[in-house]
């Protein structure tokens, strides 16, 4: 097989990316675990083809918000809209064809090979009768190639290094063929080189494959470098939203992270770079 069939990211007849169009929106979303409210009435819009990073200190509710955007958590108030339709009332399988998500530190079953993991990404497109179509096969082969995982296809996922494992999961998300992709701290537990590797891959998904990406990140410098838009949260509330240069200011770092810091241009990309001075109390 030398030519890859590419029904991905979208068939040629499908409308091209419309930069202004809102794909995923949180409207006055309140999130709570039991009685404890973690996110307070948040509004957030993800437009077509955007790359958003959600940042904030530990426990600010950023992962919780991402889970709600991915319909893993039902809001206690407000609603999440996917392409203008309430996500809670959309069949989960329909959602899975448009919206992919990569949870924090996902665990693959013991013995599952990389190829099988990536093939599972086709689940929402398959049925009991149609279990392994030519499309499925082409998309999985292409996803493996594109993420440089083809050579490791026969290896069990649990035998891979942390960086390779995360590539395998991203490969699965690619095979799922969704326009939108939500990633919850995809760089956790990785060394700096592999953090860059994973974010480069996500950046390529956005730039080359037209994916609309939202990612929760801890590292502000990496968030500023890869995302077009930053959303900062504190105590379950959105406190700032805009380009990295607009959001990453010395005042915001003091307010949100209780950190005194200087902002300098990243010598490589020119994006804002945080140089910490000391913790404020």
């Amino acid at each position: 097989m030398t030519t890859h069939v590419l029904p991905d990211p979208a068939p040629a007849s499908a409308p091209a990316a419309e930069p202004g169009r809102v794909r995923l929106a949180a409207e006055q979303v309140r999130l709570a675990y039991d009685e404890h409210v973690v996110v307070h009435d948040v509004d957030l819009e993800l437009t077509d083809g955007s790359f958003t990073a959600i940042v904030g200190p530990n426990g600010c509710g950023k992962s919780t918000l991402l889970r709600a955007l991915g319909r893993l958590l039902r809001p206690a108030g407000g609603q999440v809209l996917l392409d203008g339709r309430a996500i809670a009332r959309t069949p989960t399988r329909e959602v899975a064809k448009v919206l992919g998500l990569l949870p924090q530190s996902p665990v693959a079953p013991e013995g599952l090979t990389v190829a099988d993991l990536v093939a599972r990404g086709r689940h929402p497109h398959q049925s009991w009768v149609r279990q392994w179509s030519r499309d499925d096969e082409a998309v999985v082969a292409e996803a493996l190639e594109w993420t440089d995982m083809a050579e490791l296809a026969d290896r069990p996922v649990d035998a891979l290094s942390g960086g390779q494992r995360q590539r395998a999961w991203i490969s699965m998300a690619l095979a799922q063929g969704t326009d939108l992709l939500l990633l919850d701290e995809p760089t956790t537990y990785l060394d700096l080189a592999h953090q860059i590797d994973v974010l480069e891959l996500v950046g390529r998904l956005h730039a080359e494959r037209g994916r609309t990406v939202a990612v929760v990140l801890h590292d502000l410098n990496l968030a500023a470098r890869y995302a077009q838009r930053l959303v900062a949260m504190k105590d379950g509330v959105l406190v700032a939203s805009g380009t990295p240069a607009e959001v990453l200011t010395e005042e915001l770092l003091a307010d949100v992270f209780e950190l005194e810091a200087r902002i300098v241009p990243d010598p490589v990309t020119g994006t804002p770079m945080v140089v910490p001075v000391r913790r404020l109390r």
């Binding site: 989960t92 090979t113 990404g121 929402p124 296809a153």
Partner: protein
């Protein structure tokens, strides 16, 4: 409309995509070969088991009789005296193998089985209560034939229901399921002990044979209802295979892939509990089959989860073989459950030791 067989050029070996029109499936040859071999072994062991006894019947005669070509006395011995026992054993093994594979995939834990989750103990509570509390009376005699399996079935279903309700917290977490199951197991074990200490000696002996799991004196009366139950439950379980592929991921990933999690979990647990209840009510709790067989099967077939069909067939081979050995090779006719426990426990330990060596 074209039918094609394609070996993927790239990707894993040993698998072939089959496509007929818009229908398609990916066949993994090892996952077909193992059940096929198990099926052949099962037929042979069953024929040997039916042939052995005070009045030996040669294997070709057994097979001929089973397909309806036997003569009078052979018909009686094979079809009336011996076949029901072997068929009950076969079906019980099948049900326990499939139930074990379902539980282990669902809980994402190789230690989950109807035994460790307390369901078989629940059946024992029902059966022992029926035997002991009605012991000696004419009601007891009436219950003996019919009521004990029914009481066991109720005990298993009630325990399965409790397991499900107690483990449910807007979805069932596999780890929580195992912990709740172990608690139910202990409670059930204590109840059985309490019932036995208060029982008449004769009733206690009968109850004891029952709770080790036995195929003695099984007739078509047990085989037919069990066969009907499995004719429904096994195909449903096999149809759940695609769901299990996704369910075995974490909850978030499974939902991200479009699985209706709560519905899928409920269906899988209900199927596994029903299979266990059907098996246990027919032959008592034959232990370790559901725990060990899926782990053996997954090591034979490869893959990431215990295969359902292979687990069922290997379970059937194990129970029929164990029954054959207890009936013929041992000096005294022991209940088959003792042998499966004696084989099962060391085999499980061996698997664990060997598994650890492979990974270090």
């Amino acid at each position: 409309m074209t039918a094609t067989l394609e070996r993927p050029v790239s990707g894993p070996r040993g698998r072939t995509a089959v496509r007929i029109g818009s229908a398609s499936v990916l066949l993994r040859w090892r996952q077909l070969l193992v059940p096929l071999v198990a099926l052949v072994v099962l037929v042979l062991v069953s024929a040997v088991s039916i042939g052995r006894g005070d009045f030996p019947v040669a294997i070709p005669d057994v097979l001929r009789t089973l397909v309806g070509l036997g003569d009078g006395p052979q018909n009686f011995i094979v079809l009336q005296l011996r076949a029901p026992r072997v068929i009950v054993g076969l079906l019980v093994g099948l049900a326990l193998g499939v139930a074990g594979a379902l539980f282990q995939t669902f809980a994402r834990n190789p230690l989950a089985s109807p035994d460790t989750l307390g369901i078989t103990v629940g059946a024992s509570v029902g059966a022992v209560a029926a035997l002991v509390l009605t012991g000696g009376s004419s009601v007891g005699a009436l219950l003996g034939g019919f009521g004990v399996p029914l009481a066991a079935l109720s005990g298993a279903l009630v325990t399965g229901f409790l397991l499900f309700v107690l483990a449910w917290r807007s979805g069932v977490d596999g780890y929580r399921l195992v912990l709740v199951g172990i608690a139910l197991w202990s409670v059930g074990g204590a109840l059985v002990d309490w019932l036995l200490t208060n029982a008449q000696v004769y009733d206690a002996a009968a109850a004891y044979v029952w709770i080790t799991g036995s195929l003695n004196a099984r007739t078509w009366d047990q085989a037919v209802p069990l066969a009907i139950a499995l004719a429904v439950l096994v195909p449903l379980s096999l149809a759940a295979g695609r769901t299990l592929n996704v369910l075995q991921f974490g909850d978030d990933t499974a939902r991200g892939l479009g699985l209706r999690l709560a519905g899928a979990q409920t269906a899988v647990v209900l199927l596994a509990v029903a299979l266990t209840a059907a098996a246990v009510s027919a032959a008592g709790p034959i232990t370790f089959v559901a725990l060990v067989v899926p782990q053996v099967a997954v090591r034979l077939t490869g893959g990431s989860r215990p295969p359902l069909l292979a687990s069922g067939l290997i379970g059937a081979v194990l129970v029929v073989s164990a029954d054959l050995v207890t009936r013929t090779a041992l000096p005294e006719a022991l209940p088959v459950g003792i042998l499966t426990a004696v084989i099962g426990a060391p085999y499980l330990l061996w698997l664990l030791v060997r598994g650890r060596r492979q990974f270090t």
